[in-house]
């Protein structure tokens, strides 16, 4: 299916992909390392397995960065 992932148009094999499927496909090490937005709306962690993406959805993974280099 066609998705825009982190700003890039992508064609990912499969349909009825969930947020978690895409995180895995994108090799995100752990779902705890990112915050997710689908079409600009925040997606809570417990929904990652349930939220099925639609064709042409825009998915963003925002990586948590906690460093201030102390």
């Amino acid at each position: 299916m066609k998705l825009t992932i982190n700003g890039e148009a992508r064609e990912i094999a499969g349909d009825r992909l969930t947020v978690m499927d895409v995180l895995k496909e994108q090799k995100v090490e752990s779902p705890d390392m990112v915050a997710v937005q689908v079409n600009g709306a925040f997606v809570a962690r417990p929904q990652y397995d349930d939220l099925v993406l639609a064709e042409n959805d825009t998915v963003e993974f925002l990586y948590f960065m906690g460093g201030g280099a102390a």
């Binding site: 982190n6 700003g7 752990s30 705890d32 390392m33 915050a35 937005q37 600009g40 709306a41 925040f42 809570a44 963003e60 925002l62 990586y63 948590f64 960065m65 906690g66 460093g67 201030g68 280099a69 102390a70």
Partner: protein, 268 residues
């Protein structure tokens, strides 16, 4: 004329900027900025804001300079090892610009003291090194309606956004809550390219100056992320989330609470 000849010369490169001018420089002189953390992000921000002539700069930290800090925390020199970071940073800021007031605040910010600290300032720079404090800074700034700049770095990556409380997306709109402890490595665990701290801290300083002068477009409703290995920069559009627990329509966070492993409990 409030400026002496020497001051006009000191700030001449600002004053000749059409968008700044004498009026803009006066706004800078009248401004109060709080820098939270005198580390990798706070150090470069502190030096540039002092150089710019921000009238009052508060700088908060409760740590002392360690030799491992010197690779990136450019306000601290080898002779400062063992000194309080806020004292070390304040000395460099005053050396660059003796005309400004620096408030070195050697303290741990936590739920019961942060609001009283941030409310004295016009803009806050988050240069903290842990998630509990980053969320605390966000919530305190939202509750006190103080614009602030979020910043985070790790390895070769950096991210920053500017928050105008009630008007643009806050950190919690997009990140919601701290990740589980140890899910995301810290700079001390994973490392960081020293110059990244300077890249990000100076972006934060520029945002503070733009806000104070009232020029340009602030980095609001977007997260600037960069990867310095590829030297890719990207602005991710964000928007205020109506269900944000702190700045949304029905906030569930109405008082500050310290998360586990908060700055107050954190021992370096």
């Amino acid at each position: 004329m409030r400026y002496s000849e020497a001051q006009l010369e000191r700030y001449s490169r600002h004053i000749i900027l059409q968008e700044v001018g004498l009026e803009g420089q006066e706004k800078i002189s009248d401004a109060k900025v709080l820098i939270i953390g005198a580390g990798g992000l706070g150090a470069p921000a502190a030096l540039y804001l002092a150089a710019a002539g921000i009238g009052t700069i508060g700088i908060v930290d409760n740590d002392r300079v360690d030799i491992s800090n010197l690779q990136r925390q450019i306000a601290h020199f080898t002779d400062d090892i063992g000194r309080e970071k806020v004292i070390s940073a304040a000395a460099k800021m005053k050396a660059i610009n003796p005309e400004i007031t620096v408030n070195p605040l050697e303290m741990l910010l936590c739920a019961d003291n942060i609001r009283a600290v941030v409310r004295d300032y016009d803009f806050v720079i988050d240069g903290t090194d842990n998630f509990p404090t980053k969320f605390l800074v966000n919530d305190a700034c939202v509750m006190e309606n103080i614009p602030y700049s979020h910043g985070g770095i790790l390895r070769f990556d950096g991210q920053t956004m500017t928050v105008l409380p009630g008007r643009s997306a806050c950190y919690r709109c997009s990140f919601r809550q701290p990740p589980p402890a140890n899910a995301v490595p810290t700079c001390s665990q994973a490392g960081v390219l020293g110059a990244i701290a300077g890249m990000l801290g100076t972006i934060q300083a520029a945002e503070a100056l733009k806000h104070i002068i009232g020029i340009g477009q602030l980095l609001t409703d977007s997260l600037l992320t960069f990867n310095a290995a590829a030297m890719n920069f990207r602005k991710i559009p964000l928007r205020r989330q109506p269900d944000c627990p702190v700045c949304g329509a029905n906030p569930t966070i109405t008082e500050l609470v310290d998360y586990e492993q908060t700055a107050c409990a954190l021992k370096h």
